[in-house]
């Protein structure tokens, strides 16, 4: 759906925007202010609960501000690192796979990324853990790498799609006025693919924040720890607080992604 919105990347004047398009845009606008309000309300409700709630001894061990602060930080660190890895791998890789010399390899890498996403992330995570835990890797990296593979596909696919969707006539115009191939990539193809890449990144971010709750199974921390603890010890308040905070964080990150799509994309296309 985001790809369709960013699909008119040609030099032709923007064709009339249909009514459906306008409705979509209005929905997006409402979401842009509604979503952070919901997320903030959820966080506030949970924090108030932690502050005034009547917890037993076991619950109080996790349901306290310092502990939640630490888990939140861990969760954000995990998500950020996953995102950084996804960007560092998927954008250059996607770009390479649209070059003349890289095109033949595109199906192979897309297949790998597809498998990465299709396989249950918990499975990928645990298998990866089994493969490397004896090598002495930190649990942070054991969590981050498989989840990054899991979240790679949207950015990879959209980078390829975004670059491919740039009007060939435009690229020839660039070459025709004397831009070298690297310059055409840097000044035309990549900037014009930015809306696609951002849309993919937003999806990847949400996947990353959601999957980071699984990091706890390999000792990576994050809100998953509260969910896990609450479940194993039958302490529903701990489970609920962990789950709701993870959800609120995902909503917030998705909202930031939406803002980025709105403000970072090339100006002439907005």
């Amino acid at each position: 759906m985001t790809a369709a919105g960013a699909g008119t990347l040609t030099a032709a004047p923007a064709s009339g925007t249909g009514a459906g398009d306008a409705a979509l845009r209005r929905a997006e606008a409402i979401r842009l202010w509604f979503q952070p309000v919901v997320a903030a309300a959820l966080v506030a409700a949970m924090l108030i609960w932690v502050g005034v709630g009547n917890f037993d001894e076991i619950e109080a061990q996790t349901a306290n501000f310092p502990s939640i602060g630490r888990l939140a930080l861990e969760h954000i660190e995990l998500s950020l690192m996953i995102t950084v890895i996804v960007l560092l791998v998927a954008v250059p890789l996607g770009t390479a796979l649209t070059r003349r010399w890289g095109k033949p390899a595109a199906p192979l890498f897309l297949a790998i990324a597809n498998i990465g996403q299709a396989a249950p992330s918990i499975g990928v995570l645990v298998l990866f853990y089994l493969a490397v835990y004896q090598a002495g890797w930190s649990s942070f990296w054991i969590s981050v790498l498989p989840i990054a593979l899991y979240a790679l596909l949207p950015v990879l696919r959209n980078t390829i799609l975004g670059i491919q969707s740039v009007d060939a006539a435009l690229l020839e115009a660039g070459r025709g006025i004397g831009m070298s191939r690297p310059l055409v990539l840097a000044r035309l193809e990549l900037p014009l693919a930015v809306p696609f890449i951002l849309a993919g990144l937003r999806t990847s971010l949400v996947l990353a924040v959601g999957s980071a709750t699984l990091a706890t199974f390999v000792g990576g921390g994050g809100f998953g720890e509260m969910i896990d603890t609450g479940y194993k010890l039958s302490r529903t308040p701990v489970l609920v607080i962990g789950a709701v905070l993870a959800m609120a964080l995902a909503l917030l990150i998705d909202w930031l992604g939406g803002l980025a799509e709105r403000w970072i994309g090339p100006k002439g296309l907005r």
């Binding site: 030099a11 032709a12 004047p13 115009a173 070459r175 025709g176 090339p266 002439g268 296309l269």
Partner: protein, 402 residues
């Protein structure tokens, strides 16, 4: 930097292009796209490649700036063998304008126009000044359009920016690939007029590809009618091709009504303009103009703006009681330039009723043209054409090709 990269700054006019035994063969059985084409394109002329789609005219043109590498043969531009140059640097010295302008949608008009100068390493101030100059040249107000993005422009405006971008680094040679193919007929006519006006100022060497023979006749100093595999069926002036098509295929391509098309070869500058209209500047007082009109027994005056551009016709009766000339009378809706064809002039005359205003470079007032002038020219053309019946292309054999 290649030697040609410095030339554009030094010369105002174009340089000659020479194609020698040019061939393009695609591997894998797609066959021969261009077969043994040799051609001299004189400096400072507009040469049109015209022919049916798929005849290889665009391929031939793209070999000039090496967007397509020739399989064999040589191309020299201003005596320099293009194959000896770096292709990217070569292209920076050749203007390139294409259908639908090919503007970069994420860059402003100024960034688009300034692209080649910035590739050539010009300073920011020099680029900014050049962008302003170029926009002015193609008739766009720099202050209004500089910071716009292409999608906020009409098709015609985009095309003007495309031409400005092609000319920005002052290249001696300009390649235009059906540049006006995607705009409506009216805008198209205006853009063609603009190009001819520009060309009288700039005298570039322009290679222009089109499949529209009327456009070729209107714009070309010379026309190359191309057949399959880009073979040159006829390469001559429009007049000569219309008068004596080299073969039935060319005659078929010209189509019916060759003698009428010859009318479009006559430009307004070729006929005597009427220069007796009374003109007034916007800032002159209405009373003063009325006095002049009454003195000379005339009823209409032409109001010009501060750059001598015609604005409105005003009748003597409309001058009473108005404070300023800027608002009086009726605005001019249709006019022609000295570059316009007589056919355009005729249309403008009909639209304006009786006579049409003619402008010269930068929209300045040149005179007026009236219906009698056009009619005299038509009858004169008919007389000369009737005296050379052998040249008539409308023989029975020309009916064949669709």
């Amino acid at each position: 930097m290649a030697t040609t990269a410095e030339q554009p700054d030094a010369t105002v006019s174009g340089v000659d292009i020479h194609l020698e035994r040019l061939c393009k063969t695609y591997p894998g059985g797609h066959g021969v796209a261009v077969d043994d084409v040799s051609m001299d394109i004189p400096a400072g002329e507009i040469v049109i490649f015209v022919g049916p789609s798929g005849c290889g005219k665009t391929t031939t043109m793209k070999m000039i700036n090496r967007l397509i590498e020739p399989t064999s043969g040589t191309i020299t531009i201003g005596g320099q063998d293009t194959l000896s140059l770096d292709p990217d640097k070569l292209r920076r010295t050749i203007g390139y304008a294409i259908q639908q302008a090919g503007l970069f949608p994420h860059m402003t008009v100024a960034q688009n126009v300034g692209m080649v100068p910035s590739l050539l390493g010009w300073s920011k101030q020099r680029i900014a000044a050049r962008v302003e100059e170029m926009l002015e040249l193609v008739g766009l107000d720099a202050g209004e359009f500089r910071d716009r993005y292409p999608r906020r422009l009409s098709g015609g405006q985009q095309q003007r920016v495309g031409v400005a971008r092609a000319l920005a680094a002052d290249p001696p040679v300009l390649l235009m690939d059906e540049p006006f193919g995607a705009v409506d007929p009216i805008t198209r006519g205006n853009l063609q007029d603009e190009l001819m006006r520009l060309q009288t100022e700039l005298r570039k060497t322009i290679v222009f590809v089109t499949h529209d023979f009327d456009e070729a006749v209107k714009l070309g100093d010379r026309i190359a009618v191309l057949g399959p595999r880009s073979t040159i069926l006829q390469y001559d002036t429009p007049d000569a091709i219309l008068a004596k098509p080299s073969c039935d295929t060319v005659a078929g391509f010209i189509g019916a009504g060759a003698s009428l098309k010859q009318l479009t070869l006559k430009r307004v500058r070729d006929v005597q303009l009427t220069e007796e209209a009374i003109t007034a500047r916007c800032d002159e007082t209405p009373d003063e103009i009325r006095r002049q009109l009454e003195e000379r027994g005339r009823s209409f005056a032409l109001v010009l703006d501060d750059r001598d551009r015609p604005q409105r016709w005003v009748h003597v009766g409309q001058l009473a009681g108005v404070a300023t000339l800027a608002e009086a009378g009726k605005p001019i809706t249709d006019w022609v330039t000295t570059q316009s064809t007589l056919q355009d002039a005729l249309e403008a005359i009909l639209a304006e009723g009786g006579s049409a205003v003619v402008t010269k470079e930068r929209g300045r007032y040149a005179g007026t043209i009236d219906i009698h002038t056009v009619m005299d020219t038509i009858s004169h053309l008919r007389e000369t054409h009737d005296s050379t019946p052998a040249a008539a292309p409308n023989s029975a054999s020309a009916d064949g090709p669709a």
